[in-house]
Amino acid sequence: MQVRLLFFGNLTDAVPSSTLDWDWNGQRFAVVDLLQSLYVNYPKLKGKTFRVAVNQQFVETNFALTDGDEVALMPPFSGG
């Protein structure tokens, strides 16, 4: 199964592209599991401040993902 990841703001500095397709094998896969695997692959993400949205709705980290979901990692912006 696969989800599409969108990274915003300063998070794009921690990943190779602002949009990534992410595959996984296994049954239950929650946001928290996704984040754990992202931290392993992109350690600069760890410790950053952000919220997660699935299909344009903010969710908590126990939210269960399904195939085809669009997952956004949204940090607060600072500039003005």
Binding site: A53, Q57, F58, A72, P76, F77, S78, G79, G80
Partner: protein, 259 residues
């Protein structure tokens, strides 16, 4: 007072919108807005809010015009370098329309002066560039029960929302039994660590992007005053200027009692 005939001519192009009309235009004239920060977002926000006929504008910023501001802060000119931004901006508003009451406050917005400043206004537009100022705005507005329009930028991206809207001003109402819509602390409970998120000085910005986001903030403020549909209550709009991608996210409090 501007002659009624001039008033009708000046605002004719927006009076003809069903969302504005004479009653909406009078609501704009009666409205009082506090703009915090007269930089890249504050300049376009101020220009469109004053041009639209918002009657009272309070401008807060302790900064002075500098040469490195001019690529994005289009109110200012080289002759004004070193002058207080709020004074230059207030003079600009007065030259545009002497009917507008404009107050220049050359101070940094903080928890110290926040509640005093908020007692004079109906709405705040956050055009600041630090988390310290933004959380001070959020917390003071939450305490005073005043809504505020959020805007911020990161390189080619922007975020816009309206927070802390009282139920009676929000025709859709909320279903959680709360007196106000979500605020910034519901979305991001605590500021990032110092240095984690760069501001425009550190990461760079094109003036046109700041112009777009500041204009979106002005539009949202005007929609609030005109009580139109489609406010970004409990939502965050994101704009990516490189991809020209605009997305709207449904917010949810990280505080379980408000979600």
């Amino acid at each position: 007072m501007e002659m009624e005939e001039d008033f009708l001519v000046r605002y004719q192009r927006q009076l003809s919108l069903s969302e504005v009309g004479l009653s909406g235009q009078r609501a704009l004239r009666a409205a009082r807005i506090l703009i915090v920060g007269m930089g890249g977002l504050g300049c376009p926000a101020l220009q469109y809010l004053s041009a639209a006929g918002v009657g009272t504008l309070v401008l807060v910023d302790d900064d002075e015009v500098s040469l490195s501001n001019l690529h994005r802060q289009t109110l200012y000119s080289p002759q004004q370098i070193g002058q207080k931004k709020v004074q230059v901006a207030a003079d600009w508003v007065s030259s545009l329309n002497k009917e507008i009451q404009v107050v220049a406050v050359a101070e940094k917005f903080s928890a110290v002066n926040a509640l005093n400043l908020l007692q004079y206004v109906d709405l705040v537009v956050d055009c600041t560039d630090t988390f310290t100022a933004r959380y001070a705005i959020n917390d003071a507005c939450a305490e005073a029960g005043i809504p505020w329009v959020y805007g911020s930028i990161a390189k080619f991206e922007g975020q816009v929302s309206i927070f802390n809207v009282p139920n009676e001003e929000w025709h859709q109402g909320n279903k959680r039994g709360l007196s106000h819509s979500l605020n910034y602390r519901d979305v991001f409970p605590n500021p990032p660590a110092d240095g984690e998120v760069q501001n425009c000085t550190e990461s760079g910005v094109l003036g046109a992007l700041a112009g777009i986001v500041g204009s979106l903030q002005a539009l949202e403020a005007l929609k609030f005053l005109l009580k139109t549909e489609g406010l970004l209550v409990d939502q965050m709009l994101t704009y990516d200027g490189l991809l020209h991608r605009m997305l709207k996210y449904q917010l949810r409090s990280s505080n379980p009692s408000k979600s």
